[in-house]
Subunit: 108 residues, 2 copies
DNA sequence: TTTCAATATCGTAATATTGCAATATGAAAA
DNA sequence: TTTTCATATTGCAATATTACGATATTGAAA
């Protein structure tokens, strides 16, 4: 069907899946890592950095933004995108928690 | 197109995207969290735990397994699935690294 | 060996995603 | 005001994903 039955899962499960989904594309991973690697926050050249057409990049940026992973502020003619700290923090803590639980278990 | 242009991205970007994609579904998040919550490693009842049909669950398990997030060993008639520590560890470290870089930057 | 229980695979319908050309928008420069 | 540059939106084709009924498969019990 292609449609995810979100209504039968908890809000937490749906939210986690949505955030991870926003990152689950090589272009979007590349965008996040590029934003981290650039000194300044001048981010208009993401399009030049990526091997994709401008509309495609714009679409990926939109997805990252609506998932809360990046934020963009208008800077005159161009836009300044950067990674949202709190989103990354939540992801980090999520996997840290799982990691701890695994250390306790040691099953297989 | 629906087809991701993996050939134009680095192997690292593709790999990260693939692992995250495997987790980017509420059912698969639910499976991982269920495996963590269960004391023993008797995991045949994932199907009963999830509000999805058996073939659907089986498909999700397959995706998690082929992404290296869970591993399954045959236990007589049923199968024992559990979360793979090293996969979670890598994800944890990935977000820890990003988090550190963000602390240094403090841009927007 | 037959049967049963647990899981996997196949086939397929409905929907989502990806990518881009064409086009629109919006702000600054000329 | 016109032009130009940066970015967003629209529309659409190709492909991927999700879900499940039907049907294998496989090992254990009877």
């Amino acid at each position: 069907m292609g449609i995810t039955k979100t209504d039968v899962f908890t809000e937490h499960h749906n939210k986690m899946a949505a955030v991870l989904k926003a990152l689950a594309h090589p272009a979007r991973i590349a965008i996040v890592e590029y934003l981290l690697s650039v000194d300044a926050c001048i981010c208009g050249d993401i399009v030049n950095e990526l091997p994709l057409a401008q509309p495609t990049v714009s679409q990926h940026l939109k997805e990252l933004k609506s998932a809360g992973i990046i934020k963009g502020s208008i800077e005159g003619k161009s836009i300044c995108y950067c990674v949202d700290e709190s989103a990354i923090n939540e992801l980090m803590q999520y996997f840290q928690t799982i990691n701890q639980k695994l250390n306790i278990k040691k099953c297989c």
